[in-house]
Each structure stands twice: as structure tokens, then as C-alpha cells.
């Protein structure tokens, strides 16, 4: 047994090299660069000047940073709370092997095929206050100023959820299909109804899928950018300026690379912390099985 493991170790280390190299070149080195840049002043074309804690002070004292952080946290919390229950329900529903479910599944997965930019442009047109869906159909209820100061943020969050629910549904569908059918058979013999089966078998068995899906959602929404950028550009005013967008605007519009790097460091720390935190929820023992005794 021991020798078998050792003989496998060497080639594994070699196999891991290419991806490790890529990871170091494209993730670790730039990350280090960002930390260095956060202590400098640079407009993108001139010389990079050391700035000590100047950029940090500037960013920490700017109320916009904290507003953006709040919007980012809201984005994570709301999209998670909306997407998770819907995805679990849809995933469980689509895990059934009936024909009509497969057909509906194809329809549900459609948003997954569209690029974020395409989705953003399409919704922007639909929500247009003068030429959009509401104005076109003359339905007063739909003729709101959807992307105005009041509604822009909730509307953007809804579109994000709409875009990603299919992906997480797919994860949960796979998760549900992995659950051994014997569990359900045994439960049926014991007289458990559908709801009991869902809450006592399906949900607990999906624990690791929930953790994976939640990690993807939380870390993903932390750095979410493209859809909001195209749909509102952070506006109106700063109503949808989440941290990732704030970083882009500071770096590439205002040409303050130092300040943008500070936000980038923020995002890295937050993202890493969150990913580790969610993984912790799953328990320390990564090899623990839910199928013991099966």
C-alpha cells in the first residue's frame, strides 16, 4: 500500500507543474504586483512613484469605498438568498427522468448560453423607460423607471440571479441524481411523504453541492463586473457601483492605479476569506462520507 502511494507521488508532482507554473505566473505574481502598486502613485503612462500609505488613506477615507463595499455585500447576500432555494428546487425537479422535465430543462438552461454582455444589452433595452417593454406594450405596471436611481440596484440583482440560476440548477440536478435511490425506497417503505423525503434525504445529501454552489456564488458575485458594467456602468449616480466596478473606474477611467490596487487587495482578502469560511462550514474532514453504511 505504502509503496503504491510513493510510486504515484513522483509523476503527480510533475503533472502538477504546468498548472502550478500558470498559477504562479498569472495569479501569484500579479497579486504581488498589485500589493506593491497599492503603495505607489501611477497614472498608467508616467513614472511609478512611491506613495507610502497615501493611496490607502485616500481609499479608506473615501465614503464611496464603503458604499461600494455595502453594495457588494448586498449583492452577495441577496443573489445567494434568491438563487440557492430556486436552484435547489429547480434542480430537484429536473433530476426526474420524465420527458417534459427534460424539455423544460432545455428552456431553463437557455440563459446559460448567452454572454453577459448580450444579456445586459437585451435587458437594458427591455427596461428602457421610453422604448422598452412597458412603454411598447402600454402596460403602466411595467412602465417604471427600472434603471433609475431607486430601482436600478434591485433590478440588476434580479438579472444576475436570472443569469446564474440555470448554472446552479445544473449543479443541483447532478447532485440529486447522485443520491442513491435506495434511500428513497427505504423512506417510502417507512411511509415518508414527498416533503419529508425532500427535507430528510435530498437536502442533507446535497450538503457538499450546496457548499460548492455557495462558494461559486459568493466569490463570483464579489468580483461580478461585466453585466453591471454594460447595463448601468455603476450608475445612475453611484447606485450600482459595486467594489469591482469601483476598482475599474478608479484604475482605468480616473487613472489612479494606486487607489485601484488598494481595492483589488481588498477584494482578494475578502474573496479568500469567504472561500475558506464557506469551506469550513462543510466540516474539517474532507474525506467524510455521507454514504457510510450504504
Amino acid at each position: 500500500m505504502a509503496s503504491a502511494t510513493r510510486s504515484r507521488d513522483t509523476p503527480l508532482a510533475v503533472l502538477v507543474l504546468p498548472s502550478l507554473l500558470m498559477f504562479v505566473t498569472f495569479a501569484v505574481v500579479p497579486l504581488f504586483g498589485v500589493v506593491v502598486l497599492s503603495f505607489t502613485k501611477w497614472d498608467g503612462i508616467g513614472a511609478i512613484l512611491p506613495n507610502g500609505l497615501g493611496s490607502w488613506r485616500q481609499v479608506l477615507a473615501d465614503p464611496q469605498t464603503w458604499r461600494s463595499l455595502w453594495l457588494t455585500i448586498m449583492t452577495m447576500a441577496v443573489t445567494w438568498a434568491v438563487q440557492t432555494p430556486l436552484s435547489i428546487l429547480l434542480g430537484t425537479f429536473l433530476a426526474g427522468h420524465q420527458r417534459y422535465r427534460a424539455l423544460l430543462g432545455v428552456l431553463y438552461f437557455l440563459p446559460l448560453l448567452l454572454s453577459s454582455a448580450a444579456i445586459a444589452i437585451a435587458f437594458k433595452s427591455l427596461f428602457d423607460p421610453n422604448f422598452g417593454l412597458g412603454a411598447g406594450l402600454h402596460i403602466p405596471l411595467l412602465s417604471q423607471d427600472w434603471l433609475g436611481v431607486q430601482l436600478a440596484f434591485p433590478v440588476v440583482l434580479s438579472v444576475i440571479s436570472w443569469q446564474f440560476i440555470p448554472f446552479h440548477t445544473l449543479l443541483y440536478q447532478g447532485g440529486v441524481r447522485q443520491i442513491p435511490v435506495q434511500l428513497y425506497e427505504a423512506a417510502q417503505i417507512d411511509g415518508a411523504n414527498r416533503f419529508q423525503q425532500f427535507f430528510r434525504i435530498t437536502l442533507p445529501q446535497l450538503k457538499y453541492t450546496i457548499i460548492t454552489s455557495s462558494t461559486l456564488m459568493l466569490v463570483g458575485s464579489l468580483t461580478y463586473f461585466d453585466l453591471i458594467f454594460v447595463m448601468t456602468g455603476g450608475g445612475p449616480g453611484n447606485a450600482t457601483r459595486i467594489l469591482a466596478l469601483d476598482m475599474y473606474i478608479r484604475g482605468f477611467k480616473a487613472n489612479q492605479m494606486g487607489a485601484a490596487s488598494v481595492i483589488a487587495v481588498f477584494l482578494v482578502v475578502l474573496g479568500l476569506g469567504m472561500a475558506l469560511g464557506v469551506q469550513r462550514l462543510g466540516g474539517r474532514d474532507k474525506t467524510a462520507s455521507q454514504l457510510e453504511g450504504m
Binding site: 437594458k124 434603471l147 445612475p236 449616480g237 473606474i249 480616473a254 489612479q256
Partner: protein, 440 residues
Amino acid sequence: MTHLSAFSRRGFLAAGAGIAAASVVGCSSSTATGTASGGAAGKASMWGLTGKPSEQILTDCVAAFNKLGKGTIDVTLFQNDAYKQKVRTAVGAGEAPTLIYGWGGGILKGYADAGQVLDLTDWVSSQAAWKAKFFDLSWGAGTSNGKIFGVPANTTGPLVMYYNKKLFDQVGASLPTTWDDVMTLVGTFNSKGIAPFSLGGGSKWTSMMWLEYLFDRIGGPDVFNNIYAGKKDSWGDASALKAYKMVQDLVDANGFVKGFMSVTADSNADQALLYTGKAAMMLHLSGAYGAMKSVQADFVKTNLEFGGFPSIPGGKGDAKNIAGNPAMFWSISAKASDAEQTAAKNWLLEGEFTDTVVDAFINSGQVPVQKSAEAKIANSADKTFLSYIYSMVTSAPNFQQSWDQALSATQAEALLNNISQLFSKQIGPDQFATNMNATL
């Protein structure tokens, strides 16, 4: 729409940094080959913008020049918004093309301060006859600290008031000449269920146009000149504060179309509001004329009226003063070899504004920054509009360059952001002044 996109400087960037980054890689290699085969042959690289009709005019003009045997220009075209970031990255990395296309103002000053573009002052003054062919006011935004770093390019783009004549006839009103007229018209149109002004407030620079004119009409060109010179508290000038208040009064009076903060200029939805009769008036770049003509030729022919920004009673500014984009600019990279620079200069002298080029711009409904345009406009199909723009530009005592181009990128971003909050009433006049004074 495409030809306006050349002007919509702060529009959205659908392509994103990914494409920009990919094209940096793609193009730095073409620049490298240009340099390698340069030398005696005098082959210069040039980066320009896509978008009809200017794209076609540029490529035709370069092809014609290359046949003259005075050097070769190798042109590469980019989409407007992707170009802005790409050229900045390239200039910063010392990989700029020989001929750099730009908007002048604060960004060009940044290049000049970093020593990345050639000081053309002596060369331009040695070519007096050639220099005199350009509009006199067009050189300003290409000049920094009295030195010329950019040669005017393409067309002039002042901001014009557009009116839907049909709607004016419908309510029995005449075109406004003063601010009081404007406020009266706001009430008249609102009472008939017509939006007074169309505005693509989501694009921010569109709202900025209003402040540019209000500043001038109330306090004259000095109000912004003080800001440009970095004078303390200049955003809090009494005239400036009055302008912010007037903007918010106009917003309160429902002067702008419903939901204007989420209307964007990239999609030309603001122009559509005017020609579909949902809004009666619009302040926009002169390029909007050609853009509307390309989609609604009948409307432009029969129902479109235009004029200058109304005067403000008691204001100091001359009603003939204008704001907008005086010109685009060509700069020459300081990193280019002598042979490349010579080819580039030859093109500027003999290729950039040939008769054919001037004709082509006029046919597309634009006014090139050349005095020779005047005679040609008289025979053009768009004579009324083009001669109006021509006289507007040549008789203006002051042509204020768009603020977001004139200021540094850092100030411009803060400005656009605060303007967006001012128009959506998230902040008041005093807060706006405080926020902007902090950037001086």
C-alpha cells in the same frame, strides 16, 4: 449611429478590457515590423477609429497618399472605446504608433508631460500657409503650455440645440432664445404630455453639455478657465453655483424626459426621442445631425430645426460662444524614428486634407476643420445645417472644449460622476461644488 460614435467619447465599453488586451498583443507586433522595415523607406504606423463614414474617408485618404511616394502610412483601425485604453497602454509602454489619434486636451497634455509625443511648434510655424488652412480655433485643444502637440483632424463638433418643428407647431410655440423662453416651453410641452428635452443622462457627458453652456452664458468663459487653471474653490464660483441650481430647477420642472437618467447616448435613444416626437428639444453634438439623417432622413428634411444655446438674461457670456469638440487631433510619437516622423509629417501636409477628403466629410453631413469647406458647403445637400455650423464655429468668440477632454482623466472621472449625482438630485449644488473643489 456609427458616425456619431466617433464623438461619444465616454460611452460604454462593451468589448471590455479583454479585447483591448488581446489587441495590444496583436498590434505591438505590427508596430515592431513597421519599425524594422522603416528607415529610408519612411514607413509610419497610424492608429485610427472604426465607424462609418470617417473610417472609409481615412483609409481612402491614406491609400491615395501612399501612391505619392512620399512615405507609406500603415493604418490600423480600432473600435472607439477599446481604442482609448489601448492607446494609453501603448503610449505608456513606449509602443505607440507614429501617428496617434486623440481628442487633445488633458489626455494629450498627459502624453506631452511624459515626453511621449513630439513638440510640433517649430515645424507647424515653418508651414504657415498650411497652418492657415485650418480653422483658427481648432488648434487650441492640441496646444499645451503654448506648445503644439496635436494637429487638428477630421471634423468640428460644436453642441447644437435641435428642435422638433412639428411639436412646436402643434403647441403653437416658437423656438426659445432666452432661458425664460425655455422654462415657459417646459410648462407648455409638459401640459400637452410631450417631454420638453431629450437627454441621455446615463451617459453623463451628455448632462455635462448643459453645464458647459450654462457656465458660459451666466459667467462667461472665465468661470471654466479658472477651473482649468486650478484656482482654489473655482467650482464654487457664484456663476457656477447658479448654473447647478438652474439645472436642478429644470429637473424639478420635469424639463427632461421621464427616466432620463437611464437613457444612454451610445444607443442613440436620446436622438430617437426627438425624431419619434416624444421630446421636443435636445442639446447634442453637431454629429447628431448626420446620425439622425441616416435613420430618419424625412424627419431631418422637414421637421428638424436647430440653433444655438439660449441666452440668459443678465448673463456675462456672449450668446455666440460655443462648446463641444473643436477638433480631433493627430500627434506624432516621440519614440518614432526620423524616417517615420518624416512620413507622418508628409502625410499631415499633403495627405490629411486633400480636396477629396474635404468633399467626403461634407457629403457625410459634417464640417471638416478646413476653411476650404465654406465654398464646398454651398453646393452640399445639407447646405442649411452645414453652413450654420460653419458660421457658428468661425464666428464664435470662444469655443470651449468638452470639459471631460480638457481636464485630466482623474478630474474628468470625478466630474462625470458628480454631474450624474447632480442631475439625479442625489447631491445639491453646494455638495457638488465641495466635491469638485476637492479635485483642484
